[in-house]
């Protein structure tokens, strides 16, 4: 089924000082279906943020798209003109960034910065109408005293409040898809829960792409899961499939690393080693150096994609049992 947003064999990398392109994301394919929430999980450095920035076409200056397409409602975003892309940003695809402390302009008022999204995409609105809508939106995201807060500046808001401001800014035009890049990592636990609550409440109309390395959050909010490792999708499928049958050694490692109440572990399990930087990627399976089940050909040959069920894909050389309909 064609999704609202689809990655098809998308690859990108970074230009190094010698002018060579070092690959980062390799042949990434997955889809976000209309009205569903997809969680993208993986450790730090797996390319989650690059995935989101690729959609927005807001990659760093030294990034290079190496191939593939990113379709949104059937059109390849990568082939759009700059102007058409600007038309989509903020209106159809909106984004909440990873860093709430630095993502707001320190010298412009909160109200102005939220209103800007409307001002851009609904130029017919008057200043007064924009202000009214912004205050309404501030109230929606649970900011107390919105009339007063409207004219305040980012430094007068706490981290959690700033992230609410970002949510207000990203959702005010009712985007078809909301991308949230680790919206809660910078916040403390109680605030995290409130912000997540708010996001699941606001997603009812559109699709959500939620980046996180917290699997607990995925269970609560997401319908589908994409597991990324070192720039590749290693496993993807419906949330139920992945949680009931985590298959890829990396996914299983991630699950083993979740603290649980039932398993009274003295020490929390962590996958040994860390995600390599892109200059150190192996030609074969990028997870091989950390995989307990790695075979010789894993190091040299890219693992194949296998369909375990219609809603469950895994990329690994191991033999898995096929299951029928999820």
């Amino acid at each position: 089924m064609p999704g609202l947003l689809e990655f098809n064999n998308y690859s990108m990398g970074f230009l190094n000082d010698e002018g060579q392109v070092i690959n980062m994301m390799d042949n990434v394919s997955f889809a976000v279906q209309e009205g569903r929430a997809v969680g993208i999980v993986g450790e730090s450095g797996c390319g989650k943020s690059m995935t989101t920035l690729s959609i927005m076409r807001l990659l760093p200056n030294n990034a290079v798209v190496q191939g593939g397409v990113i379709n949104f409602q059937g059109t390849n975003l990568l082939a759009l003109s700059q102007e058409s892309m600007e038309e989509i940003r903020g209106k159809d695809i909106a984004m909440i960034f990873q860093e709430p402390m630095t993502s707001l302009n320190p010298v412009l008022s909160i109200g102005f910065q939220i209103g800007e999204t409307l001002q851009r995409h609904q130029p017919a609105l008057s200043k007064a109408e924009i202000k009214e809508k912004v205050i309404e939106q501030l109230r929606m995201v649970g900011i107390p005293n919105p009339e007063k807060r409207y004219s305040q500046f980012p430094h007068q808001f706490s981290g959690g409040m700033r992230q609410r401001v970002m949510i207000a800014m990203a959702t005010i035009c009712h985007p078809k898809i909301l991308i949230a890049d680790e919206p809660t990592t910078a916040l403390d636990v109680t605030i995290q829960a409130q912000v997540l609550d708010l996001m699941s409440k606001l997603k009812v109309n559109g699709s959500l792409m939620l980046i996180t390395h917290n699997l607990g959050i995925v269970v609560e909010i997401c319908d589908d899961v994409v597991v990324m490792y070192a720039g590749r999708v290693v496993e993807s499928g419906s949330m139920v499939e992945i949680f009931d049958h985590p298959t890829h050694p990396y996914t299983r490692g991630l699950f083993a690393a979740i603290p649980t109440l039932t398993h009274n572990q003295d020490e929390l399990y962590t996958i040994p080693g860390s995600v390599p930087v892109s200059t150190k990627f192996l030609p074969g399976c990028r997870f091989a150096p950390r995989c307990t089940q790695a075979m010789e050909h894993c190091y040299t040959q890219v693992p194949p994609e296998r369909e375990l069920s219609p809603s469950h894909l895994v990329n690994c050389w191991l033999e898995f049992e096929q299951r029928g309909e999820g």
């Binding site: 927005m56 960034f97 860093e99 851009r120």
Partner: protein
């Protein structure tokens, strides 16, 4: 904000006071004896003493200082040793010329420097940026006196396009002709100072804009669908101008500090030139007054630039 402003003004007054005191003692400690200049040796001894007493030169130095400060607080800066005119009147005549040059140079430098710096910052290390970097490097490192003489020789003596010095052709003409004449005279000194100062503005604007454009909030602005022109203007400029304003304040101070040199080279009738003339005449009251007005200008400039920054940056404004 009110407390901030009060503190700022108080600090400014202190600075002026310190500068006035230092100038006073430096002048008195100079080996030359102004009495010899004020007092005509052909006068009778009594007349000499009366003369000394009139200028207060017969009293001990600390008492002279106390009298000087006392008068100053009442707005009396004394009388010129040389011309016997009140110092206030001398300064009032010269200061507008210094300010005129200052305003021309600063306005032009900002008007040209900011847009050029912004444009260079948008495409770092590309053609325009490279060209601008080279040019600014050249104009910052060039020695101003050398540039002054080169321009004077080329444009005034050799090509005879512009007058060699002064602020107007005496006697001053009437109406529009006078202004045109002043403008012609202002071209050379303004040009020399502009070349050097515009480079500073370009450099600071370019560097700060380059940094600002890498900030996360710039990406946020793009994510709302705005184009580069809007993002640079609305989200970049206000942040990027903060260092530019600071450096403009410093630039004005250094222009004032350099006024003696520039105004002497171009025979510009401002306070700098006045200082030059008064040093040779050992005209203490005038020197005193000239340094006072210049340090006051520096202090006012720095308060103004801090106020502009506070206005631009709510983190400072709202504390």
């Amino acid at each position: 904000m009110a407390a901030y402003l009060t503190r700022r003004i108080f600090k400014g007054l202190l600075t002026i006071f310190a500068s006035v005191t230092i100038t006073f003692f430096i002048l008195r400690l100079m080996p030359a004896d102004p009495v010899a200049l004020v007092v005509d040796p052909k006068m009778g001894l009594e007349a000499q003493a009366a003369m000394k007493a009139k200028f207060g030169l017969d009293k001990p130095i600390l008492e002279q200082y106390a009298i000087f400060i006392g008068n100053l607080i009442q707005g009396d800066m004394g009388v010129s040793f040389k011309t016997r005119q009140p110092v206030m009147a001398v300064i009032q005549e010269k200061m507008p010329w210094t300010l005129l040059l200052l305003i021309i140079v600063v306005t032009l430098s900002l008007l040209v420097g900011i847009p050029v710096g912004v444009r260079a910052a948008k495409r770092p290390n590309k053609g325009f940026d490279r060209f601008v970097s080279l040019l600014t490097m050249f104009s910052i490192s060039i020695f101003i006196p050398f540039l002054s003489f080169a321009f004077l020789y080329l444009l005034a003596y050799y090509l005879k396009l512009l007058p060699t010095g002064g602020a107007y052709t005496p006697p001053p003409a009437d109406g529009l002709t006078y202004y045109k004449d002043v403008a012609r005279h202002a071209v050379l000194p303004s040009l020399v100072l502009f070349i050097n100062n515009v480079a500073t503005i370009i450099l600071y604007t370019r560097n700060s804009m380059q940094d600002v454009l890498k900030e996360d909030y710039i990406r946020t602005a793009y994510s709302k669908g705005w184009n580069e022109k809007y993002v640079t203007r609305v989200h970049g400029l206000k942040n990027a101008l903060i260092p530019t304003i600071t450096v403009t304040g410093l630039m004005i101070s250094s222009l004032i500090g350099g006024a003696v040199m520039t105004e002497t080279v171009f025979a510009w009738p401002g306070v700098g030139r006045l200082i030059y003339d008064s040093v040779s005449a050992l005209d203490y009251p005038v020197l005193q007054g000239a340094f006072l007005i210049l340090s006051a200008t520096v202090v006012v400039t720095s308060i103004l630039s801090d106020l502009i920054i506070a206005w631009l940056d709510p983190r400072i404004r709202l504390g």
